[in-house]
């Protein structure tokens, strides 16, 4: 277990996302999808881009540079040119604070057949 603090729950309204710097695993992007929090690496797996600068639509994050898309809960790459899935982190919320376990994938990610790097 390697739990890190991401943000306060109230910092992120539904439909919003936030980049959180982390020295250990690199930048993390936190998302609020209809009240449920998720976290992935912030760097797009295709080319240099911060997903926190992208747009959320239907549980997908669209990269701001080449408009490739990932499924936020599972990290699955779903749209060209994204081929490699996104690393996800297991999120928990306690007392209005959002945390990630950077040693665990999101539960939804475990359903993806191909394990990401």
């Amino acid at each position: 277990m390697s739990i890190i603090w991401l943000c306060r729950e109230e910092q992120l309204a539904p439909g919003e996302k936030l980049k959180v710097a982390n020295a250990e695993v690199g930048d993390i992007c936190v998302y609020n999808l209809d009240g449920v929090f998720y976290a992935t690496t912030d760097l797009c797996t295709h080319a240099t881009a911060s997903l926190a600068e992208g747009d959320i639509e239907d549980n997908l994050i669209t990269c701001p540079v080449h408009w490739g898309q990932f499924h936020i809960p599972s990290g699955k790459a779903v749209t060209f040119p994204c081929e490699r899935h996104l690393r996800t982190y297991r999120v928990s919320v306690r007392d209005g604070e959002v945390y990630a376990d950077v040693s665990a994938e999101a539960r939804e990610a475990e359903k993806i057949e191909c394990v990401q790097i």
Partner: protein
Amino acid sequence: MTKERIPLRPIDTTPPLRNLDRICDMESGRLSGKVFWDDEIYQQELEKIFARCWLFVAHESQLPNAGDYLTTSMGEDEVLVVRQKDRSIRVMLNACPHRGNKVCFSEAGNARGFICNYHGWSFGADGGRLMGMHESKCYEESGFDKSQHGLRQARVDSYKGLVFATFSDEAPSLEEYLGPMTWYLDVVLDMDGEGSEFFGGCIRSTIECNWKVAAENFVGDILHGGWTHDSAARAMLGSAVANVSDMPESYSVNWNGHGYEFGTDVVGNAATLGEKNINKYLHTIRPRVAEHLGEFRSKLIGAISSATIFPNFSYLPGQNTVRIWQPRGPHKIELYTWTIVNKSAPEEIKDMWRKGCMMTFSPTGVFEMDDGENWEYCTKTSRGLVTRYQDLYVGLGMHTRIDDSELPGNVFRGQINECNSRAFYQRWKDLLEAPTWADVPDRNGRMR
């Protein structure tokens, strides 16, 4: 802080052509067909006119929302016109600064940005800054600085909804460029204080003529109307075009190559659409126009008239067609046309105008067809080497300037008059001969 981008390499300037007086002498009203045919002259026009003048690129109403864009060209330079989040409009080259490929192929739409098909260079809609590219890591490892690259921006300004751009840093301001012509532009752009809009889409077609033939027709040639368009007028109106010279009061005005010829008959142009409700609408709003723009200009809102803003933006009050003659080599133009209407007009009136434009001034329009054939052969006869040097007479209306007119600009008596054509070609020659904007002579008050 992003660094200033490496500036665009200045255009290689070529020496002005010599002996232009031989083929364009507006003091005596003589022109030669060589100006419509010669490729060397055409290349000079791209450099000394289209890369230097303010060119029309869009009407603000075409881009209501942030991210809305359209593609057009400035001369032969393809550009993107994009509405920004701060409501401003940016104009940038539609060419990738990596290998030069076109980055946007559609005519209009809404986009978060533009990505080149070739190597995935990606540009933001917000001013075309370079966002990234495919295999970005390799660029980063070789010390690439993204901030130094992006789609090249043009200078942009607008007048009452009409957006103009220029690639020249030394061009005068748009306000100075248009000068007193804005007083006349208000007749279509600002009839009642509520502004204008483009209604419907853009119709694009080609005509195999030189761009100047078309621009000059609109700058000041109503003479052709009664002759060229006789049969079309009979079809649309049920009778011949009235002799324009019989009309009681008409003028030609020009300024720095822009020109407007007009009667004071309120609805003469509008009547050619064959739609009574349009004339009725114009008569109904005229008192409001008189209140807003004064009695005199209220008589011009749909009158027999035409105009060109130098070099290639033209319009017809009344028919409400707005167009740009895009040069595509010396012998061809791409014609972009739109219908302009008052924002405040009822929807059904706007739609009548849109249909009226299609019936008259579109690829199938009765008047456009008449003009197109004439313009094509005005151009094509000059492929004959001898014909190319035949004198073309542009002298009609010499000595008709009204020196004490209260109207803005250089004012001439009568709209059947080639004074605007002379002013147009004089400006054309002055620009071709001037090494810089500062060298362009001021001919206002001096032209015959």
